[in-house]
Amino acid sequence: MSNDSKSGRRSGGQIICDVLLQEGVNAIFGMPGGASLPFYDALYHYPQIRHYLARHEQGAGFMADGYARAKNQVGVCTSTSGPGATNFVTSMASAQMDSVPVVYITGQVAREFIGTDAFQETDATGVSIPVTKQNYLVKDIDELPRTVKEAFYLAKSGRPGPVHLDIPKDIFLAETDAPIPDEIEVRGYQPASAGDSGMIRRAADLINEAKKPVIIAGHGVAISEAWDELRVLAEKVNIPVITTLHGVGCFPETHPLSMGMLGMHGMYYANIAVDQCDLLIGIGFRFDDRVTGRVSGFAPNAKIIHIDLDPAEIEKVVQTDVPIVGDAKATLAQLNPIVGRAETDTWLDYLSKLRSEHPSETPPDTDQFLPQHMIRQIYKHSDGKAKVIADVGQNQMWASQNFFYDHPLSFFSAGGTGPMGYALPAAMGVQVACPDDEVWCVTGDGGFQINIQELAAVAEYKIPIKIGVMNNGHLGMIRQWQNRFYDGRLMGAELANPPFDKVAEAYGIPGLVARTKDEADEAIAKARSIDGPVLIDFMVAENEDCMPMVFPGASLAETVEA
């Protein structure tokens, strides 16, 4: 059986497996079905690629997403035609919005049945157009080697994203001598490298003269692995660094220049710093509405430098003074040598005072067991070294606020699309990618139940993630909004939950319960001592709101602290 050879007569299934090996993929997440059986039969002969059987295709998609983010490489998942492919859609949308390189391989009915409403036939590539970077329905076996290779190239290069390969059943079986190309060139697709040097010079001039600058670092810094360059820029010029949700970890949060996260639930002082700055250096972020608040009131006194790889993000939301289309790492490498220390001491003193007067990151001092305490305790026990995967909602914001992330690629969250149910499968993918790291899945009691079935895969493959259910008996963010903006008319916000520790036990995963801070300390210590997956049901205070908050329609200047 051929394995890593680049030529010779091979089946479609073999070609795909060979490309996976070439691309360094050692795990694939998926669920088989009729149309993908020949692919599974090929996988059978490739023990180097470990298959993880998900219990729902959405789970497989998020596992590949977590794997891709943690490794900063392509993650791969697979499903069959029809419902298998449509179940992928939510995870595709999330990977597309969050720029995550995932290659989706779906089976399709055999070519002769396409367009006949055959059993389990869905126009999968029709469905995936708006939620993928690129997609292909491969109808010619001779085109498969190039197409699969191109899928990986497009997923990873430029602004990464999901690429969908829809493969008819008979194409998996058909054979060809066509070789797998070493290099891929796609006309009409030329991702930018470093930005324009004239623009970089203009940026440097603004930076050198700034009195009140801030850096906002986003996902692009993580994707291009520009954290060292970011740190050089911040330290050399003496600029405070604020991150977006996806930028968390790109700059050490215990660093004196770190100002935490901004946005709707950002740190008060970070939001105020952005409001009052005279120069905003945005690196690899897209002025998302959850970051900017009301756009007309966003950084009203600032000149804006915007560095982004995707030209379509430049001036999509705000007008910029210096637009730079370029890769963050390459651009900062050009920028750093031509900037010098700026006169920012007064500004930094002011922000430091602001921060000590408004300590957003400190949980309230109370005997009650608050959700914030749970995160802070995980932080302390893991010595800040854990990788944390948050779900969506209050838990996501608290997980980003109450843990000081000092390491890049240590906090993951589906920020753009906000798909509840992300954390459990994504944490599994992160753990598969980083088997030696401590991985915590932080999820609410609502989101947890959206992909709770993946506990079966956690148990089956003994994926040693620690699952922290932040259980407040509610869809907490819904309750918070209904309380604040709908006069407390709770509708669909309360949850009647099963005992999650018992659910975990039923799957064969140790389950613990923590009702107080002391119990939480004990449970976390115990979970960390167990070599394998553990679930802790943290029964936290029910009515805690996630603060600070920028109300809908308000500007960052109007950040509410309590």
Binding site: L154, V186, R187, G188
Partner: protein, 190 residues
């Protein structure tokens, strides 16, 4: 024929060079739809380069919004070039075939009116005249206004195709490179 609303709208005219692959037209129209751009007219055909199709798209809106539209279209892998020709001197042509009611002995009157518009009579029946007109969308609108006085029985239009005048602004094979440079220098985003 254009409604009152349509007459008051400002339009932009874009030319796209795209890979001649299945599904590309769907992808282009879906980008426009999901980003909220209304298509007034869209026509596709071969270009001078084998394997490359040329689209002329007229969309509602102008200015920064269209700039965003252009950038979003560029993000499609199969889109090779996007040119906003709105501000260029260009040749806009469209073909329309109209069956006009000739009842009441109006056939001769229609035929002579058609001559004034350089329209060609391509079919003639007892009570109708079918005309073909190749002209700018503006001239076609005027022709249709005239035709509607007699009664339009059936109408089909191809949608506009366009080409910039002169080599500098043109998009022929020889000038593509030059135009690319211009687009790049305008916004640094190509």
């Amino acid at each position: 024929m254009l409604s009152q609303r349509e007459q008051s709208i400002q339009y932009s005219t874009m030319v796209l060079l795209v890979e001649d692959h299945p599904g590309v037209l769907t992808k282009v129209s879906m980008v426009l739809r999901r980003r909220g751009f209304n298509i007034a007219s869209l026509s596709v055909g071969h270009s001078e380069q084998p394997g490359v199709s040329r689209m002329t798209i007229v969309v509602e809106g102008t200015g920064p919004r269209i700039k965003q539209c252009e950038k979003q279209l560029y993000k499609l892998i199969e889109v090779l070039n996007v040119y906003d020709l709105t501000e260029y001197d260009r040749v806009d042509k469209e073909l329309a075939i109209v069956r006009i009611s000739g009842q009441g002995g109006k056939r001769a009157e229609i035929t002579s009116a058609a001559q004034a518009f350089d329209a060609e009579v391509v079919d003639l029946g007892k009570d109708y005249v079918t005309c073909q007109i190749t002209a700018s969308p503006y001239s076609i609108e005027r022709f249709l206004e005239m035709a509607s006085d007699f009664g339009i029985m059936e109408l089909t239009r191809t949608g506009v195709v366009t080409m910039a005048r002169g080599r500098k602004a043109g998009l022929g094979a020889q000038s593509v490179e030059q135009t690319e440079k211009e687009v790049t220098s305008q916004d640094g985003t190509l």
